[in-house]
């Protein structure tokens, strides 16, 4: 069954579109689930609730707002009726991609709503948070969080995957205690399968 709510990342915030066909209780339920699974990724962003082509009673709108307040530290909740097409992107795969052409050092933090591509390393103590995928043409030794907006489809790919901690969506993984062979690069990709973070060799 198609989800009655969809999320897109726009330039100045996040657009939540409610399916005009869907049953109101299903919308509420889906929204509540999403709020519960979301991290603090939405902190500081505006949340646009797109109610175009839908008709809601004022009480129903109130209920939606009350649920949406559950997102941690969302700046503003705004109703809109624009059918948002331009400037918006899917969170995954074809989303807006941010390129970083240097090594991230301890204490440096990157937080982006789309995908993040890094040409360089992520050193221990550095942190990358992305709404979409994280691709590192180098070594990951710091903390990475892909699919931070709640997307379980996101993945992390690197030439060498030795993160302090790796998070995808709500899942958190730590590497095994024994350190791997330090010298060689071995491209790997981490993703969620059956509710768990899996790491597999990345075949080129």
């Amino acid at each position: 069954m198609k989800s009655p709510i969809t999320f897109k990342v726009a330039k100045d915030g996040i657009v939540l579109t409610l399916d005009p066909e869907a049953n109101f209780n299903r919308i509420k339920e889906a929204l509540r689930d999403h709020v519960n699974s979301a991290t603090n990724f939405y902190a500081g962003a505006d949340l646009y609730i797109n109610i175009a082509e839908s008709s809601f009673k004022i009480d129903q709108l109130n209920e939606i707002v009350n649920i949406a307040r559950g997102y941690k530290d969302v700046k503003n909740i705004i109703f809109t009726s624009d059918v948002v097409k331009r400037d918006t992107v899917e969170v995954n795969n074809e989303g807006e991609t941010y390129l970083i052409n240097r090594t991230l050092r301890s204490g440096q933090k990157i937080k982006k709503s789309g995908n993040v591509v890094i040409i360089g390393d992520i050193n221990p103590g550095a942190e990358v948070i992305a709404g979409g995928n994280i691709i590192v043409f180098g070594k990951i030794r710091g903390v990475v969080h892909a699919g931070a907006s709640g997307s379980t489809e996101a993945s992390v790919t690197a030439l060498k995957l030795e993160p302090t901690q790796l998070r995808i969506s709500k899942k958190i993984a730590r590497p095994p205690e024994e350190s791997s062979n330090k010298k060689s690069l071995k491209p790997e990709r981490a993703f969620i399968q059956d509710g768990q973070i899996m790491v597999e060799d990345f075949e080129i």
């Binding site: 090594t103 050092r105 301890s106 204490g107 440096q108 390393d121 050193n123 221990p124 030794r141």
Partner: protein, 264 residues
């Protein structure tokens, strides 16, 4: 004279910044350069003790900045080398007593008189660190072969780059050859691989450093110790000379060194 200023910094405390400043400064002075050391660790001054000049302090850096005295009055001439000077930190004040722009103009003034101005940075990344790097033309990071020290060095390199001090170089202090060869210590290769900066020098661990710091006699003044030789080599590299890295006795270690040297 238009001298150069360099800051010695580390992030982590206790890795040997002050010892490094005292030794590099003394070594540069022994090579007949005119050198001024600045202790930027206001409130926790140490450099005067390590240099053995504690009992000669009348004015300090805060007096200069607050114009209680002229810069020349605050400079202490070293008891062994007439071309080596120390601008001591204040002990009774804190880091907020000096602002980065004041530091910058102070260092500019000193560079007119000196070949090298060597600034001893406090530990940490707060105001004291910002003051210390404000007037520096380039930076040397001191680290030890410990994960925590290397982590802090990495952070500092990031902060230096953000402040426009590009291409800092690293000094690895207190290498214990026995521990490295047993694999109990991070080796130089690992450290350089993470930090991705140029290696400026390697200083072996040596108990004589503690003795010489307590006596106020930098170890470079002595003929024999390897640590002293290492600091002298760093000083020569600062002046632009190409100096090979010293062999630290055991062979496996030396081959590793050669490897590092070949790619840096």
């Amino acid at each position: 004279m238009a001298g150069k200023s360099l800051v010695i910094t580390s992030g982590k405390g206790g890795v040997g910044k002050t010892t490094t400043v005292a030794n590099i400064g003394t070594a540069l002075a022994m090579m007949d350069y005119k050198v001024c050391l600045i202790d930027a660790d206001i409130g926790l001054r140490n450099l005067d003790v390590v240099m053995g000049l504690e009992n000669r302090i009348v004015y300090d850096i805060v007096d200069v900045v607050e114009e209680n005295c002229r810069l020349e009055q605050a400079l202490i001439r070293d008891k062994r080398h007439k071309n080596l000077f120390l601008l001591p930190a204040a002990q009774t004040r804190d880091k907020t007593a000096v602002q980065p722009n004041q530091m910058e103009s102070l260092v500019e003034d000193l560079k007119k008189e000196m070949d090298y101005v060597v600034i001893d940075s406090p530990a940490g990344i707060e105001q004291g660190f910002k003051n210390a790097i404000a007037g520096a033309d380039f930076a040397l990071i001191v680290t030890t072969p410990e994960v925590s020290a290397v982590r802090d060095a990495d952070r500092i390199i990031g902060l230096l780059e953000a402040e426009g001090l590009r291409n800092p170089e690293v000094i690895i202090n207190r290498i214990n050859t026995d521990m490295v060869s047993r694999g109990d210590m991070m080796n130089i290769e690992d450290i350089i691989e993470i930090l991705a900066v140029k290696l400026k020098g390697i200083v072996p661990e040596d108990n004589i450093i503690i003795v010489s710091s307590n006596r106020g006699e930098p170890v470079v003044l002595k003929e024999n110790p390897k640590a002293g030789q290492a600091f002298k080599n760093i000083a020569r590299r600062i002046t632009g000379e190409e100096v090979n890295f010293i062999s630290l006795e055991d062979n496996s270690f030396f081959t590793k060194l050669k490897k590092i040297f070949s790619f840096s």
